[in-house]
Symmetry: C2
Subunit: 334 residues, 2 copies
């Protein structure tokens, strides 16, 4: 029996836990999962999973469960370090968090939304392969119970890196795909994952963000006129920004994304987050595309205003979570 | 003793009730007030007023109190019909409501926010004088108790009307100012009330609307970066639209309006409305300026998006109030 590949997984939300289950499922991988809020619960009882791919899984425990990256060291070194957290670079750096276990041979796998999520990893670990996972799953972690409602469909490629050999990157990427793939899920090597990432952003930067801002699901947004008045314009901006970044999205991606929730009154992740008082992934989903637009001199007024509005909302959420405070007296210019 | 002027007043919120008090205060006017939700309460106990201008007024009853415009007829004919309701033209027409009591000699006085509020009155009553009241008051009606916190400062002019003689319109306007003015308030004839109306809109179309969209008061909006990133741009758009409509607002109106709530963490009216689940005055405050921009080929992307977002929010409020319903199954194209 060949030795199992060692994978560290950070971020056991709906996406991450199904990823760890998928990796363990084929029997070729030993996953060490770093848990924070769920740690004691999962050590004691495991996750329970209700999955459209795997059926009922009453108890699931990854091979190793630890409560910090530091504590994971004894189970390393890790061939892959998978980051499947929400991406909130303005709050904390996941790359700093995983840094202690990144060795010369570690590939970093970012299964996260947004654009520009690789910059920090590539700055701090310029000689490490960074893989790009674009996930199409529908899955939520409710207090240790995973409700996996839409099939796990994962595309994995590598983020460009001039320092590294493309064939090496592809090989390491294909190996990860092999470890992840099983007869229940869909996981493919994506030679143009940059395209897939921008493509997914067409939905997230527009429908996801505008549902959050207006407080309505994507079905109501359409019924109330917002898809016609806002979403198509904003999506066209994303397509133009992507083009300035070297990615040619077809025009029909707009209608595809608008119809992608049919026939559900679907609450996208940011709307769910805002209702729960959770922080929003605005920087990687809207902020970075807007910054690319500015850098490349692309006009994107709708996306820019959506971003600026969401930044205010985010600060308000931070205030409500006690992460920031406002002065008792409103500061005014003297 | 000369006979008192007869005034009908529709809309006894914070603004309207202080207006009726002001008109009665000088003793030259008999106000007939049309009340709906407050009718029985006010007939029985009167309004109570806690006023920065007039002090404590334990009981105030206008000369006549009626529960419909129809019922007001016996106290007419009215020299002035004052409309001080929230302006929600997409919901119902106040001009239709007052139509039964508008005679050939009635002047219609609109003490309401926004731009383009005169169009319907002038269409339906092209031979009647329509006066434009721009109010700077801070006042709220809480269940029959009026909390009047910021002084009543009212500018009154006339909406342009080619059918009528300017001297006549000015005379009728100046008479209203005389009836309204007393030693406790400030009410002036405004020969350029169109300017004053656009000037006030600089605040309302931008700060008021964006506080509503982001859910924060104007102080937090500034602290959280929204004044710098959103408000100045949107206000510049309003100035450009006003210019296309023949009104030259000075550039320094921007800083004046941004500082106008100092040093208060102030919740503008739309934010208050949204928190209470009330409908928002978006058509006259944002929609009409956007339509003028479109008509005059003025670029106003921020104001346009703010309007489109608020339209979705308004529909959501209407759904929550039971005024509209969405189909149980989300409609999808076949």
């Amino acid at each position: 029996m060949t030795e199992k590949s060692k994978v560290l997984l950070v971020g056991s939300g709906g996406v991450g836990t199904i990823a760890s289950y998928a990796l363990e499922y084929a029997g070729k991988t030993a996953v060490t999962s770093v848990l924070r809020s769920d740690y004691s619960k999962v050590v004691e009882k495991g996750f329970s999973i209700d999955s459209c791919d795997y059926g009922q899984v009453p108890v699931f425990r990854p091979t190793n469960i630890v409560n910090s990256v530091e504590a994971s060291k004894e189970y390393g070194p890790f061939e892959y370090v998978v980051v499947a957290t929400k991406c909130l670079p303005e709050i904390d750096s996941m790359i700093d968090v995983i840094a202690p276990v990144v060795t010369a041979d570690t590939a970093i796998v970012l299964i996260q939304n947004g654009i520009g999520i690789d910059v920090e990893a590539k700055t701090k670990f310029p000689q490490n392969i960074v893989l790009s996972g674009v996930s199409m799953i529908g899955s939520a972690n409710r207090n240790g119970h995973i409700e996996h409602e839409a099939p796990d469909f994962l595309k994995v490629g590598y983020f460009d890196n001039e320092n590294l050999d493309q064939a090496d990157m592809e090989k390491v990427c294909r190996k990860f795909v092999k470890l992840y793939s099983n007869d229940k899920n869909e996981c493919h090597f994506d030679e143009n994952v940059k395209f897939s990432r921008w493509r997914k952003l067409v939905y997230n930067a527009c429908l996801n963000s505008v549902c959050a801002l207006t407080g309505v699901d994507s079905g109501r947004l359409e019924l109330f006129g917002g898809v016609d008045s806002i979403i198509r314009t904003a999506m066209r901006e994303v397509i133009t920004i992507a083009k300035s970044d070297g990615v040619e999205l077809p025009e029909d991606v707009i209608e595809f994304m608008i119809r992608s929730d049919d026939p559900v009154y679907y609450c996208p992740s940011m709307l769910v987050d805002i209702k729960k008082g959770n922080l929003l992934e605005i920087e990687v989903i809207v902020g970075n595309p807007v910054r690319i637009a500015q850098r490349n001199d692309v006009s994107a007024p709708y996306l820019t205003l959506i971003y600026e509005l969401l930044k205010v909302v985010q600060q308000h959420i931070m205030e409500q979570k006690g992460m920031i405070t406002v002065p008792k007296e409103r500061p005014v210019p003297r």
